[in-house]
Symmetry: C2
Subunit: 234 residues, 2 copies
């Protein structure tokens, strides 16, 4: 619903569900600490998962366009032009809110991507782990930057997928477990664990962050280490 007020009729700026006077809009754009080239850093983040999708630069016009169109828009330094992520791929990033940092020279576009953000088809542009590169003898890519919850989800999914590959001989206990849903539900330790912890968490006893920290420490240990530590504790 667009409500035009008198002072806006000549320069109406459609915004995130808002009707604004140009004054407030300009005040906001003026408050950004643009660098000597008129740019600031913009980070696009998935509102649901928290994944950092991509990072680009913005100028005044790019920010104004994002606020108006709700599609994450950047300034391309190499092409010296405005570009809206998704204008060719149709994988737009639908922006729900924008946050300025304390110095006002860096912003977050918090939004929902229509599809993979990276031009390579990857969900995000950050799929090259330095740790992995330094650890491995060969460069291995496609190792998405993932926070605790999604790293756990990815691990469980990967295990399940591995099981779909036909294997010779008698199925292992893990294989049987993961192929049998009832058995799975009753046995997989961290599924129950995460649920219990999240239950406590949402009832307000601990913070979700604390839950995830415990989970990370727990599942970063191997099964053998975990068994040992339980034994050590008696």
């Amino acid at each position: 619903m667009h409500l035009l007020t008198n002072d806006m009729s000549s320069s109406f700026i459609p915004t995130i569900g808002l009707v604004l006077g140009p004054l407030k809009f300009d005040t906001l754009l003026d408050s950004v600490k643009w660098d000597e080239k008129g740019l600031a850093v913009a980070i696009a983040q998935n509102v649901d998962t928290g994944a950092i999708l991509m990072q680009g630069f913005i100028n005044r016009e790019a920010l104004a366009t994002t606020i108006s169109s709700k599609k994450a828009t950047f300034y391309s330094r190499s092409r010296t032009t405005l570009w809206t992520k998704g204008e060719t791929s149709m994988n737009f990033i639908n922006v729900y809110d924008i946050f300025l940092d304390c110095d006002r020279d860096s912003i977050i576009y918090l939004g929902k991507p229509d599809g993979p953000t990276c031009h390579t088809g990857s969900e995000t542009c950050y799929y090259t782990s330095v740790l992995n590169f330094l650890n491995q003898s060969q460069a291995e890519e496609n190792n998405l930057a993932m926070t605790t919850l999604y790293s756990l989800e990815s691990r469980v999914t990967q295990r399940k997928e591995e099981l779909l590959v036909p294997q010779n001989g008698k199925p292992s206990w893990t294989r049987r477990l993961l192929l049998d849903d009832k058995l799975l539900c009753s046995k997989i330790r961290y599924l129950d664990f995460i649920l219990e912890i999240l239950k406590i968490s949402v009832h307000g006893c601990v913070k979700v962050e604390e839950v995830l920290q415990v989970l990370r420490l727990r599942f970063s240990q191997s099964g053998v280490e975990e068994k040992k530590s339980r034994k050590a504790q008696g």
Copy 2:
């Protein structure tokens, strides 16, 4: 445990639990697309919550230092010097992994902060919502950029805190509900909702991201709207 090999004895680089030759280390640093000032963008992200803590710039030395020390280190453009976040406040960001983007000119420090990251004492530097500024008649700060799960957590916590403030007269139904844990557990719709959905999710039927999307859409509606939509559905 430090294992020194022959080729590293003269220039040993302590790294994230690794023992490396200087060659691989240099290959990595060379692979970053440093800009004309020798800089790249660095974003510090909380490994558990996904919150973007701060954004700074790095040069070759800052990245090398972070890999060595596991403490997020940046290059201050204003002070033209290296600085490790936390060197004065002691609120270090303990880096678990570093991710390069597809263009190799932007990195993520994925880590765990020892305390609030912002010099203002705020958990992150992104606490100024553009949407809020444009909506409100007065500038309201301290509105942290939060993804769905933490936004929900914050809302529940806020409601509980509001209840601790003594009120005159007969307590409202919501107040009674939130003060009575048993009543709360049986009644608060989205607590049960989130648990059910997360249960389905971790059992592999849907992705966590889809769960959070449903949650976001659900709790972005007011109670009245939600009741209406249920009525409309029959």
